[in-house]
Amino acid sequence: MNGLPVRKMRKAMGKYWPWFLFAVVVALWAYSLLHADFDFGRKAGENLGSFLVEMASVLPPMFLLVGLFEIWVPRKVIERYAGLRSGMRAVPWMILLATVQAGPLYVAFPVAIGLWRKGCAPRNVFIYLGAFSAMKIPMLTFEVAFLGWQFSLARTLISVPVFVALAVVMERLLPGNFRPPALKEPSNGGDGLGSSSLEEGNF
């Protein structure tokens, strides 16, 4: 008798943990409004606020661009420049695509999935993610200003071969028939990204 509600609760947690966490931060922030000396709540609220602003200023146009990309860009083009037989020629294209972007790494995930869906080789998808995390131009200007160009230059030059090598290893380690879950859903239909593996009780 006791097992069922517990399992139900765990299942609900697996599904609703994002809302729960969000509510916790909002509650902490609201509490800090009542008690001025509750610094933790105020700061947590402010942090969340700045993240939400960042998200709202980058993600909507990014998703629109991904949507337009999926509709307009022919699969042939991506296959030719970044497909399975593109070899190392794809590297500069992936880096160019990544460096002109801005924002945290999670912005790059939908773009990466869009590329994958258009026939971009897994290796090149991971090169894109590597370049995005290591050498976005807006980030580099910040880095040069605070840590100096020697630091920036050395870090960038060392990072390139490292993330290219990691992407190749990544492709080898994934099974040959690997498809990301976000790709398996029909591209028109379902609820966007559909059900996630989270609902299988990883939390």
């Binding site: 942090n47 939908p110 028109n188 593996s197």
Partner: protein, 156 residues
């Protein structure tokens, strides 16, 4: 950020001029993907802001200053877990350097911060699956060690 909106606007207008129906489909598709990740994104961002509030810059200063292996691995750990925006991370790194943090420690911190995201794993797993997300983060952590080691070799 503004340039991103402008570029998107221009592309959208061009697309509208070329084909209204296709544009509608594209916008619908993009918005649907956006709405689909909003819940998990809110959760991840809430978790990140809690961690960022609990860990103060002064704590990081104390953990990451000095030389030796302990600050190096602490830098990797903190960098992997946290998701600190650039406008906070770089001033912090400059401060750490003033207080005597070594180049490898700074490189480990910055590189793991950018390449590894433990707190964003649920989000990454939603796109790539847990297996690929964990694999990418594990490899990226190794990569951060290699980059930091290379930095130490080049700059010292």
């Amino acid at each position: 950020m503004i340039s991103l909106w402008i570029i998107t606007g221009v592309v959208l207008l061009v697309s509208l001029a070329a084909d209204r129906r296709k544009t509608q489909a594209a916008v619908f598709k993009g918005l649907k993907m956006f709405v689909g990740v909003i819940p998990i994104l809110l959760g991840v961002l809430a978790a990140v802001s809690l961690v960022l509030t609990a860990v103060t810059p002064r704590m990081l200063e104390r953990i990451l200053s000095g030389t030796g292996l302990l600050p190096f691995f602490s830098a990797l750990g903190v960098g992997s877990i946290a998701l600190i925006p650039g406008f906070i991370a770089y001033p912090l790194a400059a401060l750490l350097r003033q207080n005597g943090a070594s180049v490898p420690v700074l490189a480990a911190f910055i590189t793991s911060l950018m390449m590894v995201g433990v707190l964003t794993l649920p989000l990454e797993a939603r796109y790539f699956g847990w297996r690929a997300a964990l694999l990418r983060n594990g490899l990226a952590l190794c990569g951060a060690v290699v980059v930091a080691g290379g930095m130490a070799w080049v700059l010292q």
